[in-house]
């Protein structure tokens, strides 16, 4: 059962998938498991659906682990899943959100890459796709989306860590999410969780051009970062991806925004500058606690600003 699961430890893909099954069994009144596709190596791509009823309600999408070496992101999402069910009926905001919206949580967006970090190469970032005549393995899944595909901030060299792939949505891990969100048609916020460097960012990444509701996103990011800071005093910077970090093309949040999802955010979780991707497990829960408060702020805003 999930009661023996250690939320302050890192886990393998199999352990997380087993936890998902137990979690859904234990909370079947509010959580269900969807399989939205298969990875390149034919692993299931799973999404947790949190719903209190209704059909095709406005929804919030959260994903983590698109870059497989960012282990803190999967661990944070597992903790957040547990937090959602434990807060429903207690926390007013969570209860209001779930009484009006659904939440979809994709804990492991890149299962092949994640399995590979446990079996062969802890620092693997991409997926594991291979193509005839191409010597190097894998595509950077956060460069494979249709928005700005192939532009600056992505690479057409298959051996590069930011290789965008042969065409937009060429990777099954990306296509599965696109198909799911497009067929759902009522996703109002998308939150993609990465690590590391303590940033909360919104579109665009592929250009310096401000999005139409830039002002709103700026202030929402500011509020979310403040809520995060108040938990453990961790400071984040925030802003649009291209002005805060660097130009990056073909990324999830740009695609989401261009697909009509006005509240699209990308988190870069801790490290506070010592461990990078190798953040010790002792920091999983504090990281999850602070991230949760920022996500809760975004969810509340989405609930109160229907469109």
């Amino acid at each position: 059962s999930t009661s023996s699961f250690s939320y302050s430890s890192y886990h393998t893909l199999e352990e997380i998938y087993t936890w998902i099954d137990n979690f859904v069994t234990e909370h079947s009144d509010i959580v269900s498991k969807l399989q939205i596709g298969h990875s390149f190596e034919n692993r299931s791509i799973l999404v947790l659906k949190f719903s209190t009823g209704g059909s095709r309600r406005p929804a919030i999408w959260i994903d983590s682990g698109i870059h497989s070496r960012e282990w803190i992101t999967h661990a944070t999402s597992v903790w957040i899943a547990k937090k959602i069910v434990s807060e429903y009926g207690k926390d007013r905001i969570v209860t209001d959100v779930l009484n009006a919206m659904d939440i979809f949580l994709e804990i492991v967006s890149n299962p092949d890459g994640f399995a590979y970090t446990h079996s062969m190469n802890r620092l693997w970032r991409k997926n594991k796709s291979t193509r005839p005549g191409i010597f190097c393995i894998g595509v950077d899944l956060n460069r494979n989306w249709k928005s700005g595909f192939g532009g600056n901030g992505s690479n057409n060299n298959p051996c590069s860590e930011t290789y965008h792939g042969p065409s937009p949505q060429s990777e099954p891990e990306v296509a599965a999410v696109v198909d799911f969100i497009m067929s759902h048609g009522n996703v109002k916020a998308l939150i993609s969780i990465h690590s590391y460097s303590q940033m909360l960012m919104y579109p665009y990444g592929h250009s310096l051009e401000p999005v139409s509701n830039q002002e709103e996103l700026y202030h929402l990011a500011k509020d979310a970062v403040q809520a995060l800071y108040e938990v453990h005093g961790i400071e984040y910077i925030y802003g649009s991806i291209s002005t805060t970090l660097y130009v990056a093309s073909g990324i999830t949040v740009d695609w989401a925004y261009d697909s009509g999802i006005k509240y699209s955010f990308s988190f870069e979780l801790r490290d506070t500058g010592r461990y990078g991707f190798l953040l010790p497990a002792a920091q999983i829960i504090p990281t999850a606690q602070e991230t949760w408060m920022a996500i809760r702020t975004i969810m509340e805003h989405t609930l109160h600003h229907p469109y």
Binding site: S9, Y10, M120, N121, C159, L245, G273, R274, F277, L278
Partner: protein, 96 residues
Amino acid sequence: QMNFTGDQVLRILAKNEKQLSLLRDLEGLKPQKVDFWRGPARPSLPVDMRVPFSELKDIKAYLESHGLAYNIMIKDIQVLLDEEREAMAKSRRLER
């Protein structure tokens, strides 16, 4: 399981765009010699890069010859990986 013994992560604070582009040049080397954990973005942000043990001497010489100040963020990656693996094994025993 790949072994990262002796690999280090260097944190570089580029002073200006010129220094950032010197770091970007490293990204294009074939075969790849460094793995950017935090890529060259803007002078106000640190650049973190993993350098395989076999390349450390050359890369540090490159940085020093171009006046790029750096410090060693992770002295030996494999040490942290071993600790991480041990922590997972211990947790698994407790969970069982």
